[in-house]
Amino acid sequence: MDTDKAYLLGLIIGGGIFGDNTNVFRIRLPYRKWGSYLENPQRAGQIAGDIFRKVGQMFRAIYNLTVQYEAMPGGTWTILCEGDTTALRDDLLHYGIVCEGDLKENADISKIIDDLVDDNLKRRFVAGLADTIGSMARSQRRFTDEHQILSLEIKGYNYKLVCDLCRLLYSINCIPDQVNWNHPNIHCPSNPYYRQWNKGFKLRILLDQFARFGAFAFRTKVETANENRRLQQQTHTAERCETRAVHVTPSTVHPAENDPRLPDEIRGGHYIHFRHFCAVMRCEHAPYSEINKYFDNLGEIVNPFPILCKESYLRIEEIIRSDDLLSRRNYDILSIDISSLLSLYNDNPLLLLFGNSPKNGYPITEILKAVAYIIADDDELNGRRPKGGYIQIIERHIQCTPNLRIEFRKPDLLTPLVIVGNGKGALVGAVNPDVYERLITRSPDNEYKLLVRRITEDDLRNG
């Protein structure tokens, strides 16, 4: 290992794709809009310069390989490395990495990390990764421009790689701000019928923290980091994972929790927060006591039904038909005055409706989100999301039609409430902590892994 190889290994782990031809391999730079020559020709020219000056010259100096590149209009760049790759493959093999396909899908980087014997070597490896998969698109921020983020974006299901990388970053003080694991509980925590949950891993680090302790080699990346940091009014430092407060919001049980592509350690579990994954993977930095606190009230934060599912009317009907528990219900058809709902919400935003005890029922906030979606005009929605606040949509519509009503289909047990209208439909799951609590157990192999069994009619009747 040396500092140049550490950088090149970072590039290769980040974007390396190997095929059958041993005289060539590719490094894919998924820069998307940020690197698109159509969107920003000047930046594209700088990226080309970085590829030649930094990657090309270093590959030639270290492995005697030549480099070419190809840029796609969408912003994906491919570096083509040609020549006798034997020495490079031997180096990768030495670290237990087999040169097949997209390396980051299966690579175990623990042996590489063992050889990064000081912070500088680690930083060079991280620079290679940040140059390939580090995104600083304008959307990479925490809520507002004030917290700029570098997001390391990794497709696939290699949890160990992400965990190892996170620890490596932590060891050089690039403490991750957030890890979006490639898991349905992270990417779609409220709708179990949403199938596009596999959006990849996102390891997010405050840009200030990365600028101080991390590194880039690409001049283009450094310039973007500087531009983005200039949008902030203050400099921010990261909080340590061990002591950082954890705020959990309720999440739905998603069928893809059992996806066979998930590693054994993760598959079959339900996760209440991104840091819960860290605990299950036994990271030494995980906030175990914070996670444990929530384990006392699991019925309140785990829901076997959708928290809110917004679809077309036909799709909602199909969902109900395909689920025995939902299709066997008797539904009371109610025509509800939306103004009265809004008044109830204004009086108590935590109100539960149609329950059979003070602790259960349908949350008024989710009901109003569903109502807003259903009554909204097309130009008031971004896909299924309201433009602006959902309350504003409701207020606007009530102003035009003061007696506006909507159809509720209330089931005889606390299965999801169905709200329909305008060719659209929504399901709102009930809060029912005492019943849901009984569905949850801990894995015998891992005290932090939560197993949730399917809910039955008996559970609801005996609730």
Binding site: D2, Q57, R60, V222
Partner: protein
Amino acid sequence: MAKERHEVTYYPEIQNFIETQIKSNFRAKCLRELEMFWGIGELKSNLQRILSENPEKCDCVKDFIQRTPPLNLDIFALVTDGIKYELIILEVKKMKSAGLKEWSQLIGYCLVSGAKFGLLVNIDNGASYRLDQLLSTEEHLFHIRTIVGDEIRQHFLGFMQWDSVSKCFDYSNLGIIKSLSELTNKLISEFSQ
């Protein structure tokens, strides 16, 4: 408009980067530490200062200081494991393209001082076309052997570009020292002899 920086203001970041890379590489390969001491300007007096500040670590360089002539340099590094030492001379330029004149200057400094390693560094720019051509073909210009008295000396030279934005080197593959890891490998082989 931002004020143009003088080349001297880049010295600390260049020194720091080289030192960090060499020490890391030495640590990774030999699992032990090297000491690096830097001087800017005149060689002999700077070496005397380094020796007086670090008498134990730099005792091995005492004889060399006595016989070395006064010589004005941009930057040099004294690298030592406490038993042996090597000198690295940096000729730092900030110009549109560094040419044969600058390369000749580096050669001259290495020959006069006896430094085994020399790097010509141009800030944010590369080599002239002519220098590029010469260093791509004429090995005797970057791997120089001299006979001084009955001693055969070797000098290993390289050309690199300092990127002042990303604060790291862009390699040029010109000269015999093509990378900092290669420079460390040569140092390791000197220290292990």
